[in-house]
Symmetry: C2
């Protein structure tokens, strides 16, 4: 995928030594990458940096010199190694000073809990060119700095705080500051076919998806996804999506926001089930985890409702009240790293056992197994 | 945390436009950061790069110029936008050529599935200074390149393939190539106390944890963790760990590999329970997801076994056969973003209802709620 070079370009700095020693997975980068992409501000790149004022300052100088927008997450906490504020102040040659209004806000926030720890005073520091961004969920205010033609936004590293501040305080300022051309995206989702095979089947769609359209292919645990995007009229995406659907046939299970859990529950509902349970072996409860995390079913949709799941690792247990119980077992991998998966449905709604294979290891193997089960249920009841 | 500067330094390049548009969360960076940290090769930084040969080549030149080890993940697939091989070849001024042995291996791999897609031939290309690393789980071989005093390792982006190749083929080569001083780490884990409050309580332990010891503090969904590490004699960690335990008292639930799910199941087992189930409301099954993903209980340990969970979102359902049912409900957040959580245990083993509060939003709020429930069970039965 080529990055369009008209319009603003952003880059991301994820700050925290915990990222570099693998204590923390950087989910913020993916969240902000997706959000900026939708706004039409592509990311040039992302960097993970240690809690080192000099390294952070140098990264801000470099990023601000080439990018219109620099978003940094993390390092706004109260402890001695939270030095993002210090790094940006050094990069801009400005001095950190206590801000009376921020200090008052912090003290009032802590009044509900007791005395404010003195270390939190670090969070009331500001530089002259920074405007604070409110943090309704935590003690760390963000910063918005618009200087020398480049905007820098500092956000907390805690994902819930970062997302709330981005959505409520940072993102709403961008359309007034930059000329944005939002990106429109369509996704075609497949299961049971590999990335290479899809690439061969739809090759010209990937290399030449149409004027003003970009294409990408992504192998994920819930199958291989084709993604088409444009910064122009979203109608130009209709043709490549229709072509992909025609070329890929019944490998396709859905588009855009469709997901296998909802599709399987909808298929079971159409077949007459109202309450679905699971009984799984070898999967550490991954199927029930995915079904219970899927969006709550609207009663009027006719989809079946997931009511609970049992593990039979320790021997047979009573299955709960349900008119369809998805039974799933995952067996040991063979020499090629592929594992046998057996799926069936028992109860008022029943489906005979089918066997499929998944590859991979660890959590990914478990997730692929759960999605393979949902795909089999969906296919059998289509 | 300061990065020790003796010994080799590494950096990481995570390659793939899907990372920059937020299609994929980069879990590989955390895995490799932790693995390298344990080996005593600290990461200078991590970068996410788009699928652009020129950008990738420039990043390899820069990283190889300053770091002893450069590990790149992603971009080894068969499709037109998998250009990591091309980027490294350009950075080194070497030419990509088809390798007969690799091609034969690839064809034999595909013989089990049918015809090899022609696009996979890209994966049999090599440069003169690269040695291939076998990929037992996928079609993309890795590369090991040792030239000009810097080692570059290319690994696939699919996490299961990356981890297997790292563990079996790449990591074992490092001790022979670099003088390594592995890092020893101890962790003290707390729940129910904030990062600021801990920082105030143990401040000198964070700023001066002892000669040759580094300290860090990490706020996670399962509580705030204090981490002490050394490249020297692991016995130097005993003193700061003991001091942290003394200062933090009953906020501490465990150390190192202890986790709240296992501790709660062990506490229920000590109280006489053998089979534990859950009944949850408002948490999208997060408690059962965490319990079922926890390590399988050894029968001889005396810990109770998790047998399954029910959701009561759609009304009361039968609870499964269990002598302890953890009942958990999460209520709407208040104006400060804090949500009431009610926890009790019913059955042969029972505990009265307690109410706690969690803050946060989204998945994090649900995870914190589930961990708060496990912490309450553990505390009540301590």
């Amino acid at each position: 995928m080529n990055t369009p070079t008209d319009g603003p370009i952003a880059e991301l700095l994820s700050i925290g030594s915990e990222l570099l020693v693998g204590e923390t997975v950087d989910t913020n980068a993916a969240y902000l990458g997706a959000a900026l992409s939708r706004l039409g501000i592509p990311l040039r790149g992302t960097r993970h940096l240690p809690d080192d004022t000099g390294v952070i300052a140098a990264a801000f100088v470099e990023a601000r010199g080439r990018s219109d927008l620099v978003v940094a997450t993390g390092g706004l906490g109260p402890t001695h190694d939270d030095v993002t504020r210090d790094g940006l102040a050094a990069a801009l040659g400005e001095e950190l000073r206590p801000d009376a209004a921020l200090e008052a806000q912090l003290r009032s926030r802590f009044a509900a809990y007791g005395k404010m720890p003195t270390s939190n005073l670090r969070q009331a520091m500001l530089i002259p060119s920074a405007e604070p961004l409110p943090n309704p969920l935590g003690s760390a205010p963000g910063w918005w700095v618009d200087r020398d033609g480049s905007v820098t936004v500092l956000l907390p590293g805690v994902p819930s705080e970062m997302r709330a501040m981005w959505t409520d305080a940072a993102a709403p300022r961008l359309p007034a500051r930059f000329a944005l051309r939002p990106v429109h995206t369509r996704t075609v989702k497949t299961f049971g076919i590999g990335e290479s095979a899809i690439s061969d089947l739809v090759d010209d769609l990937l290399t030449a998806p149409g004027e003003g359209v970009e294409a990408g292919i992504y192998a994920r645990d819930d199958g291989v996804h084709l993604r088409f995007s444009t910064r122009g009229d979203p109608a130009v995406l209709d043709a490549p999506v229709a072509r992909a659907l025609a070329l890929l046939g019944d490998h396709v299970y859905g588009t855009d926001d469709d997901d296998l859990a909802s599709l399987a529950l909808a298929a079971l509902g159409r077949a007459g089930a109202t309450a679905v349970a699971t009984l799984e072996s070898g999967t550490q409860g991954m199927l029930m985890a995915i079904l219970s995390a899927s969006q709550p079913v609207q009663p009027e949709s006719g989809a079946a409702r997931f009511v609970g799941g049992m593990l039979d690792a320790g021997g047979p247990v009573a299955t709960p009240v349900a008119d369809a119980v998805i039974q799933l077992s995952l067996h040991s991998p063979d020499a090629h790293g592929r594992s046998r998966v057996r799926v069936s449905v028992a109860g008022a709604i029943s489906l005979p056992m089918v066997e499929v294979r998944v590859h991979g290891s660890g959590q990914q193997r478990l997730r692929r197994t759960a999605f393979a089960a949902l795909d089999q249920v969906r296919r059998a009841l289509f």
